[in-house]
Symmetry: C2
Subunit: 574 residues, 2 copies
């Protein structure tokens, strides 16, 4: 049973699930569903799909994650970043609005799902760690900014194309004279009211005498009111005849994967995008899940999260929708609505299904400008200058990494930016470890402690050189280490014994081993013996599997103190 629960985490919480929980979760689900609908529609639009697809993407994914995910709080569905990544991945293959476009988006969701499952199966979740903080920060800021610029076409009621800075700005510039005034006014009004709602809605409810519970429940429902108000306004004034773009009628059957539009070439070319969408989605999701889990002292299993999110994406493809993941704003909303367990994910999925079946006519007059306003406001919060400022103070190099990632995303696109960022962070790290700190040490007089000769007054011996390496020994620094030792010895011809003090060496690989073997040989040529001291247990175990110890001209000492004593004795005797 316990083993089974590892693969189906829902069993754990279902075991202790009470009637009272069901009641409170149902209330939470109803409020959550109403509030999450505009967001879901908006993100589908961001993905370049009919807005209604956002609801499809909120049914099966949410149910599957509730059953297979390990977070008790995470809400899974369409999310801004993965949606816009979907758009830029699908655009090269089809025109937005066509059946082929939907087909490719569905395929992408399916492939992302499979990727996540494969990563889980091969335990390759660690690959997601390659996205360092500066890269993610630069990536998110730039993507959010690109999204806002991309939404201007809806906010102004004009045409624009492209998914990177220059083409977007260029096409906005070309069409700036065609701004649709009603749309523009509607956008201004909705952005203003959304911002006011966010700031003052809870206060307003309070001054109207609402209970604390009601404020907690409805404090964030401001956007819903704005959406309703805007839809009613458009309907009453027939603004759609004045050029205001609306959702319009919604097809009854969901989109499906049209296999005719798919071939291996498309699958192959979508691979990198599917991979990046999976990884970006996964990292965001796990990070949200963990902050919520921490508050309740719960535990997140990242490998099982890969399964949960993988199945959610396959589920999304089966619903005819696009890639999904666990979202920050969705999850906050869910928690604010009083969700106590993943059951809210299941109930709200069913409520969205009911909405789709019976309430889609209500969305007919929903203006696209409102959805664009919702997107723009939430994206502007993701553009963080403060983050860059903090980073700049902490490390100029890492701040530059952020700036480079930001710029490449803006100019070359999200995927290129991400890849460039990852490569540069790995190179930066390798550069750092390939310039290891190497200290010449001596004994603090009267003690058994050894310290850097440059910082302390210590005792040394003219023919014995002790070198402490403050880094793991592996391929990226093996040759540097080789050169540094050779250089130290060639500068000082009195040296007869070189002791490597290995206190800070946690690992040693075959390249470093080879370098050590070369060092032993070369030092022998220079008539210098190489000794080791303070080698850690696991490192010593590795060395025993090699020929280094057989060929070592010197000895291996347990402690540095023993090494110095033994060698000094030998020197005085000879």
């Amino acid at each position: 049973m316990k083993k089974f629960a590892k693969y189906l985490p829902a069993l754990t919480w279902l075991k202790s699930y009470q009637d009272a929980d069901l009641k409170s979760d149902t209330v939470a689900s109803i409020v959550f569903t109403i509030m999450v609908i505009p967001q879901s529609l908006a993100y589908a639009m961001l993905a370049g799909l009919p807005a209604i697809t956002g609801l499809y993407a909120s049914i099966l994914p949410s149910i599957l994650y509730s059953l297979f995910g390990t977070s008790r709080s995470l809400a899974v569905g369409p999310v801004a970043l993965t949606s816009v990544m979907t758009a830029s991945a699908v655009l090269p293959f089809a025109v937005s609005g066509t059946e082929q476009y939907a087909t490719v988006a569905i395929l992408l969701a399916f492939m992302s799902g499979v990727f996540l499952l494969v990563l889980s199966l091969l335990r390759l979740g660690f690959l997601t760690n390659l996205l360092s903080h500066p890269v993610i920060s630069g990536f998110i800021s730039a993507s959010a900014l690109l999204i806002v610029i991309g939404q201007l076409k809806y906010l102004l009621g004009i045409q624009s194309e492209g998914d990177t800075l220059l083409p977007l700005v260029h096409s906005l510039y070309l069409h700036v004279n065609n701004i649709n005034l009603p749309t523009f006014i509607l956008s201004l009004a909705s952005i203003t009211s959304l911002l006011l709602m966010r700031r003052y809605f809870a206060t307003l409810l309070k001054s109207l005498g609402c209970s604390a519970q009601a404020i907690q429940l409805f404090g964030k429902s401001g956007p819903v009111l704005v959406v309703v108000a805007a839809t009613v306004t458009v309907a009453l004034l027939s603004l759609e005849n004045m050029g205001v773009s609306i959702i319009g009628s919604v097809p009854i059957k969901p989109l499906t994967l049209n296999m005719e539009g798919i071939n291996w070439k498309i699958v192959e070319e979508l691979l990198p995008s599917a991979f990046l969408i999976s990884i970006v989605g996964f990292i965001g999701s796990v990070s949200v899940a963990q902050s919520f889990a921490a508050k309740r002292r719960q535990d997140i299993d990242p490998n099982q999260e890969l399964v949960g999110l993988g199945l959610a994406n396959i589920g999304s493809a089966m619903c005819g929708a696009f890639p999904v993941t666990g979202g920050f704003s969705r999850t906050v909303l869910n928690a604010d609505c009083g969700s106590k367990s993943p059951m809210t994910g299941i109930i709200s999925a069913l409520l969205i299904l009911l909405t789709l079946l019976f309430l889609t006519p209500l969305f007919y007059y929903l203006p696209k400008a409102i959805l664009a306003s919702i997107i723009s406001i939430s994206m502007m919060q993701l553009v963080s200058v403060q983050d860059l400022r903090n980073l700049w103070r902490f490390s100029k190099k890492e701040a530059s990494l952020l700036i480079i990632t930001f710029s490449v995303v803006m100019i070359e696109g999200m995927e290129t930016g991400l890849i460039v960022g990852v490569i540069l962070s790995i190179l930066c790290f390798l550069w750092h470890t390939s310039h290891p700190h190497i200290a010449i040490v001596g004994r603090l007089p009267g003690t058994e402690h050894f310290r850097n000769v440059q910082r302390f007054t210590v005792e040394t011996h003219p023919s014995i050189l002790t070198v402490r390496i403050d880094e793991n020994l592996f391929f990226a620094n093996a040759r540097v280490f080789e050169e540094r030792l050779q250089s130290l010895v060639s500068q000082n011809t009195a040296i007869r014994h070189l002791i490597l003090m290995c206190t800070a060496v946690n690992m040693i690989d075959a390249s470093a081993l080879q370098s050590l073997e070369k060092i032993v040989d070369r030092l022998a040529d220079s008539d210098v013996k190489l000794h080791l001291s303070e080698v850690k247990g696991p490192v010593m175990d590795r060395l025993k599997d090699s020929k280094l110890l057989d060929n070592l001209t010197g000895q291996v000492f347990i402690t540095q103190h023993q090494a110095i004593q033994a060698l000094e004795d030998k020197q005085t005797k000879s």
Copy 2:
């Protein structure tokens, strides 16, 4: 002057250069020149160029390196690996033997030279460290084997095409019935005599009563005798009329860079090859230079080596030749001939120039099968099964890396193999560091020492958890670390204080910092305070530039002992 000598290392050794040195270097140069000529011709053939180009490649490069390189022993010229890499880089652009082929090869030499200079200027020599030992070993074995298979066409006197295993074997199979018997016999004879010469020539000289000095000088001149004997045989028996392929007449003017054949597209597509050839050449060269320098307690400056080799390649392009580097067998030969200084590089370059001007008719009857025999024998020594065996014992993972690199080189080609190898070694390393060793530690009773609870009987406190991290904290393990800590705390609700013992943390980056900040927040949510102990000076300096210390819920203790004392006191008081 001293500063100037840094950029022109020749000034250092020229300062103390004596007449006697010049005399001995001249003798060494004459012997070296005679012995190195067959090798140089062979490697030019390997590069797909007229054999005589190998002599062009031995003039300016050798002089420039002697002036600008830091090794006193290294001999620079055509080398097997870079020559065959040249062939596989140039083949997609031109047919071997055409003027266009020579043009692209010359361009490649020029580009490699520029790359090396750029690497030196930007101090990016560390990039060469990315080639780990298993990758280099697999790469060299596979390349050497491919070279030998590629030489079979000359040894058997048949046609074959391709530069990877399958096309090579396939085309050999197609032509196996057309073996040219005289060529085959010549090849067999020369391989046998070369092997015998290598083994017994010194003994033979000794038994003939030669002096030790003469043996030292001529012990390795066996190949020269075989070359002379074979050339004479071919000339006397007119074997060229029986299908034995010979060098033939040599054009008087060297090849030049024909700018008409060059466009930006070629330059762009050659970039990766030029880069890889530079790096592979550089690594091999520096490694040879260092082993020779060690014997004489001299020092090699890798950054200046980039300059020396960079200029050598540009010089090679100016001579109308292909990429060059410092070679192992050339350098051994040079040392055996009694070279005492880089002056031999300059003198032998002049001797080769004289050879080119006046002695090329001597090469007319030189059969290509002999050169192929020389190449094949020296390449077979580079195929090392022993290396794989040692590696397998040391680390299965790194041995697999060798096998993968070997296989990819054989099947997909040298460049792909090298790139796949590099990416995999980086991923392996990142995998390793992203699974850091984290130990829960307690106090050894009666001491101030703290050890792993799993290995020692130690004292712990129910509400205090001390965790020691045995790895640097950076992006590749930041999230893993975050998860592990959260998991530890969620498993044990009694914990109120978490101490991170940072003895083995040599660096901390922005991603790890962010994770630490998250951990502080999350632990605060779980009502647990985070403390740090034993933070190293440089790491502490970095932390002071961040907000972590301001937001830290606990304290920073100098030693772990102080931390435990302070917190235990607090616990008993409260």
